[in-house]
């Protein structure tokens, strides 16, 4: 037995073999992601062909771009027959595209307002910012209006004073019962604005004349007007939208029907007809002799338009909440508004974030439609620039610039909404 030859037994591991070259690195990745099947291969080849075609045709145009010229003719002379963009039109006109006819020596005011806008929305957007800044967010609308339109400081201060007055009345009348207190809180400031604001404004202006140079609305233009209308519409349409969404869910038939008719009417007609109503028809609907600012009218119409869409988005969020949440709030003994504020809305709004931000983005893009009623927004400015003899026949550079600016605004809004969704996610799926 002992001299029987022992068969070979390997006592050390073989080193692992290299995987075949088609299963590693770039080749594997390409096989899986670019050439996995005949359909995928065809799509890849088509895509590459399309990219090459586009780059081949557009690259020289971008690369040969002329930045220093005073007119299209000069651009063409510099290019000397080669294909190339004439970016000079942007360099020469960009201030007009951004500010319209706003007086150049006062450019600091819209710029300051724009910078302060970010300070004001920072505590709303990011929880890490100190909460005390919310006071500034509350003051910001009055400050921005004063900075943009100029004039006496007392008008916005007194308007703000109306709100403070309302708050004081609410505190003082709290013992008189909810209904009387609410009525007084609404009535006192309204009476104050209607009757006391004008005389007080004149009086204070006489005593302490604090004034910066006023700028008329017709001088507003360019991206400034888009941002003004967009931000005002966004800020106003969310609370109004919440009210109409609640109205549509209400058990009170008249309130419900008012909300339904409003929402369905606004959603059924194009925004452009509402804008024309603002510019053509509002004079019919108001008492003879009333004449108020075109930009204000446009802001009102854009806000109403966005409100209807916002209401539907939030209604979707409300409908998605389980019924148990409402019942639990009732069981805790919360009244309607407390239940909405503490239980329902935080959850419903969280569900509807994507829809809300989409409505915001849509509203901001829709501000371009004001060009049809004669407000010189970026597109209106671009047409005006193209109508001058210097820049006649220029198209792509201007539209590329305007499109790029809109793209940056809208894309960052949509990225922020994705960030917010992730931050507020509470389920553990």
């Amino acid at each position: 037995m002992s001299d029987q030859a022992t068969s070979f037994v390997r006592n050390d591991m073989l080193p692992p073999k290299e995987p075949p070259s088609s299963q590693v690195g770039v080749v594997k990745w390409a096989r899986e992601n670019l050439f996995g099947g005949w359909l995928s291969t065809v799509l890849t080849l088509l895509s590459i062909a399309a990219i090459v075609y586009i780059v081949w045709h557009l690259f020289p145009w971008f690369a040969n771009g002329v930045w220093n010229a005073d007119s299209l003719t000069q651009c063409r002379e510099i290019l000397n027959g080669a294909t190339g963009a004439c970016w000079a039109v942007i360099r020469v006109n960009w201030l007009q595209l951004v500010f319209g006819f706003y007086p150049p020596e006062l450019y600091w005011r819209p710029i300051l307002a724009f910078v302060l806008l970010f300070v004001a929305i920072a505590p709303v957007l990011f929880p890490s910012v100190p909460r005390k800044l919310l006071w500034f967010s509350g003051l910001y609308p009055f400050l921005a209006v004063w900075l943009l339109w100029g004039g006496t400081v007392w008008a916005p201060v007194l308007t703000l004073a109306g709100f403070v007055l309302g708050y004081l009345v609410l505190m003082a009348a709290g013992s008189l019962g909810t209904v009387i207190a609410t009525g007084l809180t609404i009535a006192v400031p309204v009476l104050f604005w209607l009757f006391a604001l004008g005389p007080l404004d004149d009086f204070l202006q006489g005593v302490i004349p604090l004034e910066i140079e006023p700028v008329a609305s017709r001088d507003f233009g360019g991206f400034m007007i888009s941002v003004v209308i967009g931000v005002a519409g966004i800020a106003l349409s969310l609370p109004l939208g919440i009210l109409f969404a609640l109205g549509r869910q209400s058990t009170m038939p008249i309130i419900k029907w008012i909300s339904v008719v409003f929402i369905e009417f606004i959603r059924g007609v194009p925004l452009i007809t509402l804008l024309f109503t603002a510019s053509l028809l509002l004079n019919y609907f108001l008492p003879p002799g009333t004449n108020f600012d075109l930009i204000l009218r446009v802001i009102i119409m854009v806000t109403l338009f966005a409100t209807a869409y916002m209401a539907e988005v939030i209604r979707g969020g409300l409908a998605a909440l389980p019924k148990g949440q409402y019942e639990a709030a009732d069981a805790l003994g919360l009244d309607y508004w407390k239940a909405q504020r503490l239980i329902i809305m935080p959850q419903a709004l969280k569900i509807s974030i994507p829809g809300i931000v989409n409505t915001f983005i849509g509203l901001f893009k829709d501000t371009t439609l004001v060009v049809f009623i004669g407000i010189l927004d970026p597109i209106g400015r671009a047409s005006a620039i193209r109508a001058t003899s210097d820049w006649q026949g220029i198209y792509w550079e201007l539209f590329l610039f305007i499109g790029a600016v809109f793209w940056i605004f809208c894309f960052s809004m949509s990225r922020y909404s994705m960030h917010l969704e992730r931050r507020l996610k509470t389920d553990h799926r």
Binding site: S47, A50, M252, I254, T273, L280, I379, G403
Partner: protein, 417 residues
């Protein structure tokens, strides 16, 4: 047993209108109703005063006056001698034509882009992401104006098609000419026309009606044949072959009819300085159509992607476990569930397209807003009536679309317990 001890009994006091939740809602509603009525009365009174001050009566009789302006694209008979009402009808038809065209192309493009964005192919998925993010973050008005500029600036003039060695040539086997004056496509014509049906105001082509009736009948007969096949299959377990019957029923009658009527295509041809023959699709229509389609397709792509991603992977795995093939899995399991998610937002995209056709103003497309809400208002000075009528028409169109699409939505919706 809990007994209801909540509601206080006692006589009704006036303060209960404010403090008793049983009556408070009534108070609020009556208050809201009065505020609303007061506001409406105020608006109507102001309007009446203003109209009287301007010396304008309120009425729609201007619709029956001669319009006095021309419309380039007329789907129905129209001339500058026709009435404003007729002009409004032409405008409405142009709006609807554009809306239908844009809805169809946007859906096709959007479904492709949405599915391709989910593809395993790295490069095409990235390309589609770029397409979607570029197009939906820039205002549609810019896309319309850019398309219009591309058509009028970058396309060859008709004269470029002339001569022995033309610098431009027609595409698709010499049937379509893309010029800076518009796109010329072949026109379908019949030799032995059946004539047309003249209802006052509208002229309907009997040829088109006959064709539609034949197609509708074929589809109905085909469905009967398929139903019968299913019945036989249920009874015997063997499904009779139907594919040749379906082919025959669906196509033969239509082809025979077209042959009998002498159907042919009239190709556009260069005569003199311009193309003649065929159908001219003006630049305004092309710009609106392409601009609206590619913009809305980006939104539809996202809707389709969300719809497909909403279906959990377990559904596919369950279908495979039942032994269904991939094609059937898609058709019977994934798609019916995805449609439930896709259809409602798709409806609102269709409504958006219809409303966005009113941007035709930017490129001179003569839609409802440009005829009734534009030239007619300018000529007659009847802003109030014109705008109200226009809003009403848009409202009706929107409501009809949403009703029809909601009906469809109810059919594809999964029945839940």
């Amino acid at each position: 047993m809990a007994t209801d001890s909540g509601a206080p009994t006692g006589s009704f006091r006036l303060s209960m209108l404010l403090y008793d939740s049983r009556y408070r809602s009534l108070t609020i509603q009556v208050f809201a109703f009065f505020v609303l009525m007061f506001g409406a009365a105020w608006l109507v009174y102001n309007t009446k005063t203003n109209l009287e001050a301007l010396g304008k009566p309120f009425g729609f009789d201007f619709l029956f006056n001669t319009s006095g302006y021309d419309i380039a694209q007329r789907p129905i008979e129209y001339s500058s001698q026709s009435t404003h009402l007729r002009a409004a009808m032409v405008g409405l038809l142009n709006t609807l034509i554009l809306a239908v065209m844009a809805c169809v192309t946007a859906t096709v493009l959007g479904v492709f882009a949405g599915v391709l964005r989910l593809s395993n192919n790295w490069i095409i998925a990235r390309l589609m992401t770029i397409y979607i993010e570029t197009f939906r973050n820039v205002p549609v008005l810019i896309w319309i104006i850019v398309t219009s500029a591309v058509m009028s600036e970058s396309m060859p003039p008709p004269s470029a098609f002339r001569g022995a060695d033309p610098s431009a040539s027609m595409i698709l086997w010499d049937s379509v000419a893309v010029t800076n004056r518009g796109v010329y496509i072949p026109a379908p014509l019949v030799e032995h026309s059946l004539g047309s049906l003249n209802i006052p105001g509208v002229q309907l082509s009997l040829d088109a009606i006959a064709f539609l009736v034949v197609v509708a009948l074929s589809i109905w007969v085909n469905r009967r044949v398929l139903a019968h096949a299913t019945k036989v299959q249920n009874a015997t377990g063997v499904r009779p072959a139907t594919w040749w019957k379906s082919l025959l029923i669906l196509f033969l009658p239509a082809i025979v009819l077209l042959y009998a009527m002498g159907f042919h295509l009239e190709y556009p041809a260069l005569r003199g300085f311009n193309f003649s023959g065929g159908i001219q699709m003006r630049n305004s229509l092309i710009a609106m159509w392409i601009g609206l389609s590619i913009y809305t397709a980006a939104f539809i792509a996202e809707i389709v992607r969300a719809g497909i991603m909403a279906i959990s992977k377990g559904q596919t795995e369950a279908a495979f476990a039942l032994g269904l093939q991939p094609g059937k899995t898609m058709r019977l399991v994934i798609l019916p569930q995805a449609l439930r998610v896709i259809v409602p937002p798709l409806i609102s995209q269709y409504l958006n397209i219809t409303k966005n056709t009113s941007l035709g103003l930017a490129v001179g497309y003569m839609d409802l807003r440009s005829t009734l809400g534009g030239i007619t208002i300018n000529q007659t000075g009847r802003e109030l009536e014109g705008m109200l009528l226009m809003m009403l028409i848009y409202l009706i169109v929107s409501l009809v679309i949403s009703t029809v699409m909601n009906f469809y939505n109810d059919r594809v919706k999964l029945r839940e317990r």
